[in-house]
């Protein structure tokens, strides 16, 4: 089986650029529009897509993504619908890596073994389960591995040197560095702190490092793209979706595409700009 995630990071590295990783909540604002948003992300230049599985109690998320969860759950978005959305999308794009991001309970309720098998069959590439630290992930990790799915782990400013090996131990695909101790969509970290953190992680792992939390604008994204292998933008896109949905805009996917293009242009050009 080809590994879309490794291939994509390798291609970005070969082009000496960071990967743009975009997050949206699946089913936001509704299932049909969300499928169009998924296409818009890739058309706008996203290298990797994180699809959020909605949950009633998104404890690590700020107001923007909480609202996205509520919009999606308002239409009774389900895990099997997310998988179906990926399966259909794979008919037209078999290259862009798609990672499921979310909380453990919907996966646990679906059944971890069945989830891993169905996710791989649908064409997902891995998971980021926010509330499943290394200490508890034995309930899911073996099934993901058996199905060839990556288990992306999170490292944070509070992950100290003693704990880091444990976090990196079972990690695969990439390491998601949470730049800010806090929830999604809040303050930004200083670029110098991010550069230092990425260097610290790089000394301990060969996996690519993607940085997220607090990256809202093309300028933010460009600054991080000089240091990290991947730049994650979530809340800013979800906020845009929320505003467009509220305004009942017919061009919601086009608005997403235009914003993502501004991000991808910034991310993909960041190192050349820095070199000049």
């Amino acid at each position: 089986m080809t590994d879309r995630l490794s291939a994509r990071f390798a291609a970005c590295a070969a082009a000496n650029r960071a990967a743009l990783v975009t997050f949206v909540t699946a089913g936001d604002p509704d299932l049909e529009t969300s499928a169009r948003v998924l296409r818009a992300l890739v058309k706008g230049g996203a290298d990797i897509v994180e699809l959020g599985m909605p949950f009633t109690d998104p404890m690590a998320d700020g107001p923007a993504i909480q609202a996205g969860n509520i919009r999606a759950l308002g239409h009774h978005m389900k895990l099997r619908e997310l998988l179906e959305m990926v399966r259909v999308y794979r008919l037209e794009d078999n290259d862009t890596p798609i990672i499921l991001m979310g909380y453990f309970n919907p996966v646990l309720s679906y059944g971890p073994e069945r989830f891993a098998a169905d996710a791989a069959a649908a064409g997902l590439d891995g998971t980021i389960i926010v509330d499943l630290p290394p200490e508890e992930d034995a309930e899911l990790a073996p099934y993901l591995q058996a199905s060839g799915l990556h288990m992306v782990r999170l490292a944070t400013p509070t992950t100290d040197a003693v704990r880091l090996p444990k976090v990196l131990g079972g990690a695969s695909g990439f390491v998601y560095y949470v730049a800010v101790a806090g929830i999604t969509g809040t303050a930004s970290a200083a670029t110098t702190d991010i550069a230092a953190a990425v260097a610290r992680l790089k000394a301990k792992t060969k996996l690519p490092i993607a940085v997220g939390f607090g990256i809202k604008t093309p300028d933010d994204a460009s600054a991080v793209a000089r240091h990290a292998d991947g730049v994650v933008v979530g809340s800013a896109i979800v906020s845009l979706i929320g505003a467009a949905a509220e305004a009942r805009a017919n061009d919601l996917p086009e608005q997403v595409e235009a914003f993502v293009r501004s991000l991808s242009t910034a991310v993909h050009g960041a190192r050349k700009e820095a070199a000049q």
């Binding site: 949950f55 009633t56 109690d57 998104p58 404890m59 690590a60 700020g62 107001p63 909480q66 759950l73 389900k78 895990l79 909380y103 453990f104 309970n105 919907p106 996966v107 646990l108 309720s109 679906y110 926010v130 509330d131 499943l132 630290p133 200490e135 508890e136 782990r153 999170l154 490292a155 944070t156 400013p157 509070t158 992950t159 100290d160 704990r163 976090v167 949470v178 101790a181 806090g182 929830i183 809040t186």
Partner: protein, 402 residues
């Protein structure tokens, strides 16, 4: 495999059988581990216990009495009923026991800011109380819906110097307040201590809350031996998250002759979808840092709980109860809103005690059980809170205009 003692849990990773654990975001993991280290050090330090005991005696007013209730007993016509009078504590409920323990831990850890969640406001008041006593700033998260129905407690918290933040997300009740408290904590890990109000959350919270609340059961054990010369035949307590119940039950878990019953809130009835009985109507799941039994739909989305008692209005339960339920050591029953209201009135009338609606659920179960027991048998029920906070709710339910 059967453990030699039922009191030795949790294991090193915070599991009680298949329940418990530490399901938190990575940002919080180092903090949770630091808390555990600090708690182990406190447990080994006689000065910590001495400070806790001193505050329990002089500030909280412990030991609380174990009171034989003659008229309540007589009216039911069965076993002798004793009440553990934790409603006589400072702040009017058992919640203060835990808050004293946790704020002493916070101070040991050098934390300078306190946060907490609250449903009915009892834990919020207890937390605001200890924060005032130790001079630490305090933020209480409370669902907007609960703020509307618990105005007196909101005012108490403010008088005590706490900032009460309304939570507008989700169902705007206790579980959402807990989400927002966790969001605050993750953003302020360097200086903030989160005082969780019940025996739930990520390890080591269920263990340390239980330990601090076990003062209830330890006292009751000594007191009943003194009063009756023997252990009770039955213990009974209401269960929301389950901290008052585990506090009473835990010191008796290895006494096989003691039957133990926890009482969940059945709201409008277990056959409806408006109840808070996560043991009777829940499935295993992960929420708020622990695996336990949760009210949830087929997709693993958490559903809203209902109880006339805001303190029992939570879709989960502490993991140790989920485990005690799974091994059958503790029997779990339920009582509806109406049964709790009836028992509430009966206690007022027979003993001159206005209970909180939470323990009224335990009293409702006693009305069924006590008459089936012999007159020389002995029951201890936990009267974990007083009813002042509930008079508006009860008046409304009884159609009495205030």
């Amino acid at each position: 495999m059967v453990a030699a003692s039922l009191r030795s849990g949790p294991d090193a990773n915070g599991h009680f059988g298949a329940f418990g654990g530490r399901y938190v975001a990575e940002t919080l993991m180092p903090l949770i581990l630091e808390l555990e280290t600090a708690y182990r050090a406190a447990q080994a330090d006689p000065a910590f216990a001495a400070q806790f005991d001193d505050l329990m005696k002089h500030y909280v007013g412990r030991p609380s009495p174990l009171y034989y209730a003659p008229r309540f007993t007589e009216e039911l016509g069965g076993a002798k009923i004793y009440f553990k009078r934790d409603e006589l504590n400072h702040t009017g409920a058992h919640k203060i026991n835990n808050c004293i323990g946790q704020i002493l831990l916070a101070i040991r850890m050098g934390k300078t800011r306190i946060i907490a969640e609250t449903g009915a406001g009892q834990h919020g008041v207890a937390t605001a109380t200890v924060a005032a006593r130790f001079g630490l700033p305090c933020v209480i998260y409370m669902g907007a819906r609960d703020i509307a129905r618990q105005a007196p407690n909101v005012f108490r918290m403010k008088l005590l110097g706490a900032e009460v933040r309304a939570v507008e997300s989700g169902s705007k009740t206790l579980k959402d307040a807990m989400n927002d408290a966790l969001r605050d904590w993750v953003a302020n890990v360097h200086d903030t201590f989160y005082i969780i109000g019940t025996a739930a959350g990520p390890h080591p919270y269920p263990e340390l809350v239980r330990d601090f609340q076990s003062v209830i059961g330890k006292e009751a054990r000594e007191q009943i031996l003194e009063a009756e010369g023997r252990l009770p035949d039955l213990l009974c307590a209401a269960i929301g998250g389950g901290s008052n119940a585990i506090g009473l039950f835990h010191p008796f878990l290895d006494d096989e002759s003691v039957r133990i019953i926890g009482v969940e809130a059945a709201g409008h009835g277990l056959q409806t979808d408006a109840h808070a009985a996560s043991l009777a109507g829940g499935r295993p799941g992960v929420l708020h840092g622990n695996k336990t039994l949760l009210l949830q739909d087929d997709d693993g989305q958490i559903t809203e709980a209902h109880s006339i008692s805001a303190g029992l209005d939570y879709p989960g339960i502490g993991p140790e109860h989920a485990w005690l339920h799974s091994i059958g050591r503790v029997e779990y029953q339920s009582a509806t809103d109406q049964e709790a209201l009836d028992a509430f009135q009966m206690l007022c009338r027979t003993e001159g005690i206005i209970p909180a609606l939470e323990p009224a659920h335990a009293l409702a179960a006693l009305r069924r059980i006590a008459p089936t027991m012999a007159k020389d048998q002995v029951i201890i029920a936990n009267l974990c809170g007083r009813g002042d906070k509930d008079i508006f709710t009860v008046a409304e339910a009884l159609g009495f205009g205030l």
